[in-house]
């Protein structure tokens, strides 16, 4: 298990982040966009944990940060979904390209 190098984790995190970015930028459904954002957060978490274990100064800081991130992400997902619900009730739509009120 220990023979996986640091770059392996980083590449995984990169691929995950790119998938998340792609989804966040291209999907019309706001739910998918939220999920994609979670993907990107998790890619960041992988980075934090990987550096905590194999970085220049190994320690627990990175792992604790990852726990904090998850907590904040959970709260964020709750708020985001709540906003989404409210919007859906008002507009009967979850398509992000129709959500351009602020422009007007």
């Amino acid at each position: 298990m220990n023979n996986v190098p640091l770059s392996g984790y980083l590449l995984l995190a990169l691929v995950l982040f790119c998938i998340g970015l792609f989804g966040a930028l291209t999907k019309r459904n706001a739910v998918i966009v939220l999920i994609s954002i979670e993907l990107m957060l998790n890619a960041v978490n992988i980075n934090l944990v990987a550096f905590a274990k194999y970085g220049e100064n190994p320690g627990l800081t990175g792992q604790i940060f990852a726990l904090f991130t998850m907590t904040v992400a959970a709260a964020e997902a709750a708020v985001g979904l709540a906003i989404l619900m409210a919007l859906y009730r008002k507009r009967k739509s979850v398509h992000v390209d129709e959500m351009n009120h602020l422009k007007q």
Partner: protein
Amino acid sequence: MVHYAFMIPLFPLLSFLLHLLFRKRVRSIAPILGCICTLVPLVLSVGVLIARFQGTTYTKEIEWLSLGKTAITMGVVITPLNAMMLVIVSLVSFLVHVYSKEYMKDSERLGTYYSYLGLFTFAMLGLVMSVNVVQLYIFWELVGVGSFLLIGFHYTSLAARAAAKKAFIMTRIGDVGLLIGIILLYWKTGSFSFAAIFQSVASGGISQEMITVTALLIFVGAIGKSGQLPLHTWLPDAMEGPTPVSALIHAATMVAAGVYLVAIMYPLFLASSVAMTTVAVIGGITAIFAASIGLVQDDLKRVLAYSTVSQLGYMMLALGSGGYDAGVFHLMTHAFFKALLFLAAGSVIHAVHTQNIREMGGLWNKLKFTGPLFVVGALSLSGFPLFAGFFSKDAIFAAVYHDGRYVLFFIALLTAFLTSLYMFRLVFLVFFGPAAEKIYRENSIILLAPMVVLGILAVVAGYIGSSWFGAPLQRFLHDGTTSLPLEAHGPVWLPYVAILISLAGIGVAYVRYGRRKDFHHENTSSSPVTMLLKNKYYVDEVYGVIFVKGAAFIGTIFVFVERYIIEGMVGTLASTVQWLAKCGSAFQNGQVQRYGAVAITGLALMLLLFIVLTGGYLQ
């Protein structure tokens, strides 16, 4: 008296301003005001002439502009030539003002008419008193403006507008030559004043070539103003103006300004034989050229116009042949008899209401005063013995003969024959032969009185230049100067030949036109020569093709350059910018996802750039 000379042009200027300001209100007194404002200059001019006769040349100038070391002055100079011109101009102007009172009485714009006349008279009087070439040039252009306004007086008529523009443009072409000549003279002599320029010419301060060039350029100005070949075509068209205007401007005064210009710059011309030859040749060719066209024209005023061109050619021929006295003498007599002819023609037109001589005939018994007066003018112009034209033409023949250019001498004689032929063609067609079945009334005394004055002058004016009485005019012109050539005396037989030629012309005219029976007359010959003459040698057509079409062609080329090359370049530039702006604005669609994509793409590009340029962190 001579100290009041500066006031002479001011009265017509006053007339111009008053008529212009109050043209709506003073309509009823406009003619009276105009006549008074020209009568005073006439009296003053005669006084000045007498004073000059007894005294010497009077000069009065004030500084007008100061440019560095050069001071440009404005002022008055009374030489014998100037004094004579002053009297001619103010006299003809006064008579025309009187004549116009009756002739123009139905015009809506009487006040405007009189104001234009005042402007012209002011400019012409200022021109002949000019103290230096700058002042001369200013008034030279002002008379052009007056002429333009008066030709186009009936501005509702298309022909009048076109004629006014044509006159202005064609004389402008000449004026450019004059202006360049003046500038060159200033460059070479450092002065604008006549005396200083002639001084420099006499003392060799200016090279021979430069004298020739400047003299020719100044002559170009004279060609334009005096309707000489090849800039003559505006003068016949100028007959679209009212007839009194034709008498004043396009017969007696303004067109003679070109001759006056050559006369006043005479020392310059004398210094260059090339310039003298050019003047003589252009004058001679113009004389016979215009006279031949005058033979076949059907418009009464146009015949007189071509006659004017021809006579001005005579004057140039005389000046170019060294006949200074003869040229100036003919200028004076021509002013009288040609103004008389125009006023008489105006009287005929006023009675008959047409200008076409084919529709006239037998008017001798109906216009009992106009007829004889017209004949007096015609006899004088034809050089009939004892009339004014006889003496001045004789002087010209003598000068040309003396000069030794026999071809030009022959042309002058031939032109004299043509002159009496076309004049008496007019006389026989208009006044004799069968009459129309209409009743014409002789015009009122106001029209006739000016003609009577001119008629008397057209007879007696010749005697002041005749050697029978010791040639007082010539002695007067030479007073106070030694640079002018003395009058030439021709051979003894010359006057007899001249008389013979004049009578021959009248005789041929009688045979050809004096014996017709029916009213609708005249051969409508269409031989090539007649057609050539009727169409005025196609000069207008040739100019139309070369200059008008040529200019239009160049214009078309530039339109294409403008439209497709310059506008194309500008258009490409503008549409490129527009396209870029469209691309830019496509990013700003209000969608967060698009913004995010742009931001990420930008970041990726920047990172890529960083890696490519620096190789990144890893090495």
